[in-house]
């Protein structure tokens, strides 16, 4: 499992270690956040203070950077992350209706996670596989040339 379950106690010691591994300089803030997210699946809010102290900056600066970038999450995400591409090519070939279907099928909106922590539904601005549009990414795998039937099958199979 590369994403730990939600309720796990956060190992603050490890977070301190990561901050130090990255050199403890304010210019390392984004790499620190990326590393924490890679290991924990999200940025636990209690980590913000630790990062700020380690890098000698204000917690608000850490918070500011986290909230600025679309790929930083402050909440745990589902075991399976389903991402619908919203780039131009995917949009022109019907990406929007795929998103709607998934929202209805999973009973969550874009940016949300199912109550059982199984699925998160997200969007991305383009994954660079425009020639196979419309695309849906599940975990690390790209599913190209999607259509409503294929989505239906995925939903029936219990997703991926």
């Amino acid at each position: 499992m590369d994403k730990p379950a939600a309720s796990k106690v956060i190992n603050m010691e490890r977070i301190r270690e990561i901050v130090m591994e990255c050199g403890g300089h304010k210019w390392a803030l984004i790499p620190v956040i990326q590393k924490i997210q890679n290991e924990f699946g999200y940025i636990p809010p209690e980590a913000i203070h630790v990062i700020a102290i380690g890098l000698k900056i204000f917690p608000s600066q850490v918070q500011g950077v986290i909230s600025f970038y679309a790929q930083f999450y402050t909440k745990p995400r589902g075991r399976q992350v389903i991402t619908v591409c919203r780039g131009t090519a995917c949009h022109v070939r019907g990406g929007e209706s795929l998103l709607e279907m998934l929202e209805n099928g999973l009973g969550i909106k874009e940016g949300e996670t199912t109550a059982d922590m199984e699925y998160s539904l997200e969007t991305v601005a383009c994954i660079g596989v425009c020639a196979l549009a419309p695309n849906v990414v599940i975990g690390k795998e790209v599913y190209g040339k999607m259509d409503t039937q294929k989505i239906e099958q995925l939903l029936k199979k219990g997703e991926a």
């Binding site: 090519a89 022109v92 991305v124 601005a125």
Partner: protein, 541 residues
Amino acid sequence: MQNRSTIFVCQGTGCLSSKSGLVYEELKAEVAKLGLSNVDVDFTGCHGFCEKGGIVVVEPEGIFYTHVKVEDVPEIAGSHLKDGKPVERLFYHDPATGKAVSYYRDINFYKKQRRVILYNCGHINPEKIDHYIAAGGYRALNKVLLEMAPQQVIDEIKKSGLRGRGGAGFPTGRKWEFGRNTYSDKKYVVCNADEGDPGAFMDRSVLEADPHAAIEGLIIAGYAIGANDGYFYIRAEYPLAVKRLYIAIEQARERGLLGKNILGSGFDFEIHMKEGAGAFVCGEETALIASIQSQRGMPRPRPPYPAQSGLFGKPTTINNVKTLASVPRIIDRGADWFAGIGSEKSKGTTVLALSGKILNSGLVEVPMGTSLSTIIFDIGGGIPDGKRLKAVQTGGPSGGCIPARFPDTPVDYETLTLLGSIMGSGGMVVMDETTCMVEVARYFLSFTQAESCGKCVPCRLGTKQMLEILTRITKGKGKENDIATLYEIARTVKECSLCGLGQTCPNPVLSTLSYFRDEYEAHIKKKKCPANQCRPLRRKV
């Protein structure tokens, strides 16, 4: 089969999603099982024809297989590799004639292209530096470091007429000269691999298929400008490109092409990697610099330009992936060769990401100045399902639409700007009669509105206002004076925004308004969507 042959399986992001990873593993197993000692199984990066994936090519003949699935492997291995009988059913089939085309070089999609930047893409293994070197790689670096003074390098690039491929088309030689002539103890060069335009994927393909070309270009830029440190700023949405870049940098370092005293020239150069975190505006150079410094990626007013005060307050020169990948080719083949390709003011080639309502989606590289109709019909194969071409959108959210009535438009910086669009990153989305132009404008505005960093007021509020009006129109709730209001806001946002994002985001609105005003009016006055796309206005069919 007497001679040695190599069977290359594409392992680009596109083909991998068509399960070409399995094809590669299975081929290796099958070739071993049949004991074919004269066949090597290897992989390449993107051929640019992802739609036909998984793509498998047998060299040196150049037999090109499309849509290869793992089930097809035994037949390819048995019939072609063992018995010398290629598998015809997997050839590319020309959509116009229905005929099977066996050779790479005979496929229309490739035949009319001119590959300078994508020269190696699909022909070498991107994870093996020896392949790049065998194809002439690092020859330019050798020449630059051992035979040329920095000013000579700059003069050569100036002479070639190379202009930035990141969007604005600024002459690269002049940019480097500014960089060189700024005095400082420390300078930086940065490769911009943020590729934020949704619908463009050429930088991803270059980095996945030929990462050393960009690396070599960056080292040469560093030498010309006098910088000993280079950065790659790459978007995190491209995990495979990130991985291949790391591998390539490591290999270059092992060969002494990075580090201290490169090739005994006395020149030191290091490359650092920075991954983005999902913000379109970080492609803008001052925002990119802020992001490398781990700050919120917000643009700042210029001057000072990054060439004077950039990364960590030091002079910084930023170039796009394709700009840098062109550099080794120019040095190697000469400025005159490069300047001989393209149109009068736009030299060399341009890489376009052809997508949308088109038969052959993919990456296309053509000389600057090639006509739209050549690109769409000869290379792209035309519009599927017998529909008619309506417009072509170029330049992504900063660009505009070119209506089908200008089929002879030469694709270069000047002409596209003249028509109210831009070259931009090279995204080219084809639209047919079922695409609603108001909806297209709404789509782009929804993108720029979400990506506006919010620092300057015209962009923050203007995009929001325009989006509201456009959404209203597509819902059939447009008001009589909406068009006039759109014009007014668009003009204000264009003139008053801080950075390129705001200055160019009205383009999709302005260009659709000028070419497809009747569609806006039909939505507003008749409550009809002529393309029958906007759902609340849809006719029953």
